[in-house]
């Protein structure tokens, strides 16, 4: 799979803008002054260890959590004031496996066609295309509880795609999947992105995935963005700063660098990231 750079000539402003986004659960500041701009058409990765505030930020952008007006915009629509307009532009795949196991793959996708007002005339064809886009045509009439983890993820992708979203939001799309299924899910995300030109906002704590598949990444720690740029920029930036020779540092090294001492009290999380990263890099 080739990674597509941002389409030149077709950038129509930002897909997502967060301005000083803050959200607290009681005393805990989950997101603490997040400034972010996701460009139209790019694959943008929001990275960070567990508890960095990635999911909370996503839930604010998807209108699930109430935010004050002016903090979050999606293609120019305010997430507080124009909630329905924002939702119509979104395809959202949450972290949990969220397909309904009591329905077939086709019925799962058809439900989302219905709630996004796909006309009856178009519904069957649109559902068929969404299923075909993720290679689930053959399994479409089986109950989702017979699907493997990777197939469920692809089904959820189809559910999100059926409404032709301009912004696809994926929260840890490959969590809990085996490496082959992870690659497969990413290949489908990329193919669909290439075919439709939609913007993809993805959270992950797999640094290697971000390096491989994201056009730009933001490293989040303690509710804020600590570094932003293309993976190459961040990695070569670190090398220049350290002035070292040899192989380019990894995104993980960059992350360790920007998070600095703050990581010490969260070493458990970091070890977690590192071990999952090793598992993934074994497959390549």
């Amino acid at each position: 799979m080739t990674r597509n750079a941002t389409d030149d000539g077709a950038p129509g402003g930002d897909a997502v803008t967060c301005t000083g986004l803050a959200y607290s659960f009681g005393e805990t500041k989950a997101v603490d002054g997040l400034d972010l701009g996701v460009r139209d058409g790019e694959v943008f990765g929001l990275l960070g260890p567990n508890g960095a505030g990635k999911t909370t930020a996503i839930r604010c952008i998807t209108t699930l959590l109430p935010v004050p007006a002016g903090m979050v915009g999606v293609f120019g629509h305010d997430a507080a004031r124009e909630r329905m307009a924002v939702r119509r532009l979104l395809g959202y795949v949450p972290q949990q496996l969220s397909a309904d196991s009591g329905l077939t793959g086709r019925e799962n996708v058809a439900l989302f066609a219905r709630v996004f007002d796909v006309s009856r005339r178009e519904r069957a064809r649109r559902v068929e295309q969404a299923l075909a886009a993720v290679d689930l045509t053959a399994a479409a009439d089986r109950l989702a509880n017979t699907y493997s983890g990777g197939m469920v993820r692809r089904l959820e992708l189809a559910q999100a795609l059926v409404s032709a979203p301009r912004l696809l939001i994926l929260d840890e799309p490959t969590i809990g999947l085996d490496p082959i299924a992870r690659t497969n899910v990413w290949e489908h995300i990329n193919a669909v992105r290439a075919a439709t030109g939609m913007t993809v906002l993805v959270t992950t704590h797999y640094m290697d995935e971000a390096d491989q598949y994201c056009d730009r990444v933001a490293l989040m720690h303690h509710g804020r963005v600590r570094a932003l740029g293309t993976p190459e920029e961040l990695r070569s930036g670190l090398r220049d700063r350290l002035g070292t020779e040899g192989p380019l540092p990894t995104l993980e090294d960059v992350f360790r660098d920007v998070a600095g001492s703050g990581l010490d009290d969260q070493s458990g999380d970091f070890r977690d990231v590192r071990s999952t990263r090793r598992t993934a890099s074994r497959v390549g």
């Binding site: 309904d100 019925e107 990329n190 075919a195």
Partner: protein
Amino acid sequence: MSEAPAAPRPASADRLHPVELDLLVVPPRARTGWKVLPARVVAMCAVELQKLRHDRTELYTRAVQPALWLLIFGETFTRIKAIPTGGIPYLDYLAPGIIAQSAMFIAIFYGIMIIWERDAGILTKLLVTPTPRAALITGKAFAAGVKALVQAVVVVLIAAVLGVAMTWNPLRLLGVAVAVVLGSAFFSCLSMTIAGIVLTRDRLMGIGQAITMPLFFGSNALYPVAVMPGWLQAVSKVNPLSYQVDALRGLLLGTPSHLPADFTVLTVAAALGVTSASSLLGRLAR
């Protein structure tokens, strides 16, 4: 493979998906205004029927209890003749009450389902669709109604087999269906409201158990309001189940009833239920 004109694709995408994706770049035309609500209700009801089609176990297991009520309680009390029924066999008197009861039992555990859907991420995803919360709750409430209606058909058939003399007038049966759906809509909203307050399945399970029996025994499902002690009559007066049973009895058996009042109470109760459940839905999304 044919090329989709609306979607120019790099060669890399073609290799993986030699399929047409032209519709996936065209957003569907949005329904607006009043058309949103019925569309969402239809969507939720369709899901409920699809699930019932795939797995009918619940339909059968849930038929056991009403069958036992009719067969054992009904037959026995018909012989005892202890309950003043206004001249009709007790089994006949009981049947509408059992229809309402089995519908209520389905609806009252709908809150557990919505918590389960929250935990599974299904609810989260629905909340990010262009579906106002009230429309989502109304959809769920009517889906509970549809499920209860299917169950009611089973109970009606059991009652018919046991020899209960019911009407087969289609207009009256339509009224029965409306009463069952409205009652279930109310009880499912009651349950979803409590779900929005207690937020966990375990707590809701306990509360569900605790309120179903008082609702059932504090209604006219088993005995007329007139034989109740004063305080229980007061409970029955504010219990929507009593109005549902009254309507079902009047429609199915032709006994004296207060249909306009019954349907008004059921409609208002369902509307209030939708309002309170949707105002608390945000707590489940958090």
